[in-house]
């Protein structure tokens, strides 16, 4: 087991093994999403307060959950790369960032659209989750901008790792503090009470499905990132030449 992980951390091995793992994540993930959306849209009963509009939850919550999970993945791999200097770790952090930004955007957009029939406006500054998600989107942008601004890859890895770690401490604080503030003064805008099983199951299925698909996307991005970082090495050269020689 440790041997497998150890070998996985070596770029050439990762490059070869990753595409074999991807289908095992993508296919079940898409199937789960398909079923989860079907059940969420047609099987789950309408909400007592929100009617059919609550069904947006089936994409909104997975997006929001993934936006935060991606950040943790980014921060943890940045830390691992910084402390143990594992190249692949930095590649994972770099590859995760755009995905995290996309999911954050999706969470914001679906949250905003959900808010329109609920609050009557496209944006509600009073809502803590929207505000803290917006902050997280900016953190992602800052991370990507910092990476882009530094030419040297090693330096960019380290600098962005520091930023990711500062954010990792801050983002939970921001998330909870904004929530705490609004709940003190404005009353909850969250859907209260336990969820019906009929409503909950598709949500869990979708969360799992989206996570698996995210895993597949991440592996593919990391693979491309690894290829880019190793582009001048011998193993890449040999691999490309032999692939060209085989006529693929």
């Amino acid at each position: 087991m440790w041997n497998f992980i150890h070998r996985l951390a070596s770029p050439p091995h990762f490059y070869r093994i990753a595409p074999r793992i991807v289908p095992w994540l993508a296919v079940p993930g898409l199937l789960l999403i398909g079923y989860g959306c079907y059940a969420g849209l047609f099987v789950a009963p309408p909400d007592y307060q929100q009617g059919d509009a609550f069904r947006i939850i089936y994409v909104h919550v997975p997006a929001a959950y993934l936006s935060m999970m991606t950040y943790m993945i980014m921060a943890v791999s940045a830390a691992i790369g910084l402390i143990w200097r594992i190249k692949l770790s930095h590649a994972v952090a770099a590859a995760a960032a755009p995905l995290g930004a996309w999911f954050t955007f999706l969470a914001l957009a679906t949250g905003s659209i959900w808010g329109r029939p609920m609050w009557g406006t496209w944006w509600e500054w009073g809502d803590p989750r929207l505000t803290s998600e917006l902050i997280m989107l900016f953190v992602y942008f800052g991370y990507m901008a910092l990476r882009a601004a530094i030419d040297d890859t090693v330096k960019a890895d380290k600098a962005s790792a520091v930023l990711a770690l500062v954010g990792a401490v801050n983002v939970p604080i921001i998330h909870y503090s904004v929530y705490w503030w609004t709940s003190l003064h404005q009353g909850e805008t969250v859907m209260k009470g336990k969820m019906d099983t009929d409503m909950l199951v598709p949500l869990l299925i979708n969360i799992l499905g989206f996570t698996l698909v995210f895993g597949a996307l991440l592996l593919r991005r990391v693979r491309a990132e690894v290829l880019f970082r190793e582009r001048r090495t011998r193993w890449v050269r040999d691999m490309v030449l032999s692939a060209a020689g085989r006529g693929t």
């Binding site: 849209l41 047609f42 059919d52 997006a63 996309w102 999911f103 582009r231 011998r234 490309v240």
Partner: protein, 59 residues
Amino acid sequence: MSAFTMGSYGGYVWSCFAMAAVVLIICDWRARVRQRQVYRDIEVRIKALGPDNAPGEGQ
């Protein structure tokens, strides 16, 4: 059919699901494009250098 209108919330609900699908498709497409681009660039550079020109190890 009520599935389409979703009790008058149809526009909101369906646009969210559509957006989710679009985001996934974009991410998939961008991953493919990036992989292809990096690979092509390497091919081009190796052919330009000539197959007998050994590169250095790593960066």
